[in-house]
């Protein structure tokens, strides 16, 4: 992992490509069904039967507010500032809103 340097004051979470593919294998990919995998060049490969879709590495800079609810701790609002998918994995820049 290259480290978790933040830009423009945002916090950041990073999933390296190995972890991302592992999580896709656990939660998304089904035998004989949908297969999603991050390729070595940073392409997201989606396959369902004969249909294959490749998504190029992307960078989305779009503020998106997400409410997280966790038991008795009350809701947390997270503002996602940037999503970046590439050969290194997935990087999400965010801020907690209070």
């Amino acid at each position: 992992m290259s480290g978790s340097s933040s830009s423009a004051g945002s916090s950041k979470i990073e999933l390296d490509s190995k972890l991302l593919n592992s999580l896709l294998s656990i939660f998304v990919n089904k035998p004989g069904g949908l297969q999603v995998q991050l390729g070595e060049s940073g392409n997201l490969q989606v396959q369902q039967g004969d249909l294959q879709v490749g998504v190029d590495p992307f960078l989305i800079s779009q503020a998106l507010r997400v409410q997280l609810r966790n038991g008795n701790l009350g809701p947390f609002t997270v503002q996602l500032n940037q999503l970046q998918l590439g050969s290194q994995g997935l990087t999400i820049s965010l801020n907690l809103l209070t």
Partner: protein, 183 residues
């Protein structure tokens, strides 16, 4: 047998880290500011002191240096800093007790954290060292959450943020299909 899935990195800026500290660890009275942790604690005779802990990492540990000249008393102000060499003798057992209590609450081995004293340049410092090996051994002994376990690979602070890199493990994944990047 746990299988290493990959790494998860978190970089928390000052504001977000303080929000999380205030929400999940309010009893620690810990604040992150300009790359340092600030801790308020009470000494046995009722004097409140504020300590500044500067974090640095080594491959095996996270070390918090507490410069004596930055120790501030609630009532005595700079006097606490002047007395800091002597005060450390009072402060150390208080910190040690708090650490032991937190470790005991979580059934963590005592060797996870050690305290010592050192000299950095001209300044005397107290050192609180978090040892990653016993911490990770303890983490691996914990019951998995949704099958997942983590180890701390690295943790360090910069002036703007706290960085944490975790190794993520999962139990019972022998049936994982091979994918790019699998080792």
């Amino acid at each position: 047998m746990s299988k290493l899935l990959g790494q998860f990195g978190v970089a928390l800026n000052e504001r977000d880290l303080n929000t999380l500290l205030a929400t999940f660890a309010a009893d620690l009275a810990l604040v992150f500011k300009s790359g340092c942790f600030s801790l308020r604690t009470k000494l046995p005779m009722g004097l409140g002191v504020t300590l500044v802990a500067v974090a640095r990492s080594t491959p095996d540990s996270l070390i918090f240096s507490i410069p004596f000249d930055q120790i501030r008393g609630d009532k005595t102000g700079g006097m606490a800093a002047m007395l800091a060499g002597g005060l450390w003798g009072l402060i150390r057992p208080v910190i040690e007790k708090r650490i032991r209590s937190e470790l005991s609450k979580r059934h963590m081995p005592e060797e996870t954290v050690s305290l010592s004293q050192s000299q950095e340049g001209k300044i005397k410092v107290g050192l609180v060292t978090l040892h990653l090996r016993p911490l990770n051994a303890w983490l691996m002994r914990q019951p998995p959450r949704q099958g997942f376990k983590v180890n701390v690979d690295a943790i360090w602070a910069t002036e703007e943020q706290l960085n944490l890199i975790l190794d993520v493990f999962h139990d019972g994944l022998s049936a994982l299909p091979s994918a790019p990047g699998y080792g």
